[in-house]
Amino acid sequence: MALDDARQWLDKIRALPLTSPVRIMNVCGGHERSISMAGLRSALPDMIDLIPGPGCPVCVCPEEDIYQAIQIGLNEPDSIVVAFGDMLRVPVNVSSKSVRSLEQAKAAGADIRPIASPSEAVRIAKSEPGKTVVFFVAGFETTCAPVAGMLAEGIPDNLLLLMSGRLTWPAVAMLLDYETPSFDALIAPGHVSTVMGPEEWQFVVDRHGFPAAIAGFTPDSLLAAIYSVLRQKLDGRIFLDNCYQQVVKPHGNPTARRLIESTLTIVDAPWRGIGIIPASGLELRADYAQHNARLRFPVHAENARKNAGAMPPGCDCARVVLGRIKPVDCKLYGVSCTPRSPVGPCMVSDEGACRIWWSSGIRTRSAEHEETTCT
C-alpha cells in the first residue's frame, strides 16, 4: 500500500544523519500540489527545505502573449480564441479600466472559449468554418506533445496557433548557472520525463554535480526521490535516480518526441518576470507558417503600455518562480491576492505555487511547517 510505503520512506529520511540544511527544488506544479496536500513539509525534518521552482507553464507564460491573445479576440473580426481554462484569468498589466484578462475579453463580447484538449480546438474549427480559431497554447513538454500530435494528424485551414510552449530543463539550467543557486538538489518532473525521457535531466548531475531524482506524484514516490537526493549528498555519490520507473521509461515516449521534433522548433523565449531563456521555447516549424497566429496577425503592442512583459505591480511571482522566496514572503499573499481575486499568475493557476499554498491552508510564514501531518 502506498501510504505504508510513504511512512517507511519518511522513517528512512528521519534516520539520515543530516548535519546541514538541504534545499530541494521541485519544478513541477503537480509535485508541489502533492507535497502541500500531503503536508510533507511539516512531516520532514526541519533541516530539509522543499522549494517550489518554475513548475507552472501558466505562471511563466509571457505577459505579451496573453495581451496578444486578448487583442486578437477583441479586434480580429470572426475570430474565436481557445485556450486551456487556467489561462483565462491570468491578468496582464493594463490600467484597471481596460480589459485585463481573456475572461474579461469574453465578458466584453469577444468569442473566447476554454478547452480541455487540443482535439476540442480541432472540433471547434471544423464546426465553425467561417471563423478563424486561434488556439493559444501555454504548456511544457507534456502539453506540447499532444499539440504536436494534433498538428501531425492534420488540422483544418482555419485553425491557427499562438504557441507559448516551453521546455523545462533550460530554466533549471539557468538557475544552476547562477553564482549562488537557490537550491542544493533537484526533484525532476515526472510527466515531463514521461514524454522526454530521464536523459533530459542528466546534465544536472554531469555538468553541475547536483543530486537529482525523478519523482511521480504520490507521496511515497516523492519521498523516495527526496530520500535519494539526500543519500546522494551524504554519500557523495551523485547520480540521476529514477523513482518513477513504472511510468518514466528510458527515452520517454519516442513517438511523442519524434512528433514534437517534426512539428515544433526550439527558439529563445521570454519567461514572464524572468526574461529570455535561450533555446527554451517551442514554436511552430516553418512548414506550419500558414497556421502561425504570430505571422498572421499584427503584433498588438501599445507603446504606452507600461510594464509590458513584467509581473503585475507589487507581485513577487518572479522570485517565487525562481525559488528565491516562498509564496508567504510576498507582501500581497492573502492580503490583496487570493484565488478569488488573484494579483499574479502564481495565484491563478492550479499549478501556481501561491495558489497551491493557499488552497492547502498555509496562511503565514510560520504555518509553513504547521500544516496537517502526513497520515
Binding site: 496536500m37 487556467d86 506533445a145 499532444p146 500530435g149 494528424e153 510527466h191 504520490t218 511515497d220
Partner: protein
C-alpha cells in the same frame, strides 16, 4: 492544468479510444502511442485528452488514491 490521469481503455476505433474510470467515460487520442502495442483493458496515462504512456493497473490504482485525496481537499478549501 496538467496533471495526467490514468484511465482504462474500453474500446478502440483507429487512433481514438473510449477510456473509462470510476464510471466516467472520455474519448481520448492514442496518436502518441501509435508505435506501442495497445489493447482494450490496458491502462494509460491521459494528459489533455491524449494518452502519453501505457501504465500498469497497480500504478493506475495508486495515482487514483492520490487524486481522490486531492479532490476531497480541494472541495474542503474551495
Amino acid at each position: 492544468m496538467c496533471l495526467a490521469i490514468p484511465m482504462q481503455i474500453a474500446s478502440i476505433n483507429g487512433s481514438r479510444a473510449v477510456c473509462s474510470i470510476k464510471g466516467i467515460e472520455r474519448e481520448v487520442s492514442l496518436f502518441l502511442l501509435q508505435d506501442e502495442p495497445i489493447g482494450i483493458g490496458d491502462y494509460v496515462l491521459i494528459h489533455v485528452g491524449y494518452a502519453i504512456q501505457k501504465i500498469s493497473a497497480e500504478e493506475a490504482r495508486s495515482t487514483w488514491e492520490l487524486l481522490d485525496q486531492m479532490l476531497t481537499e480541494d472541495a474542503q478549501h474551495a
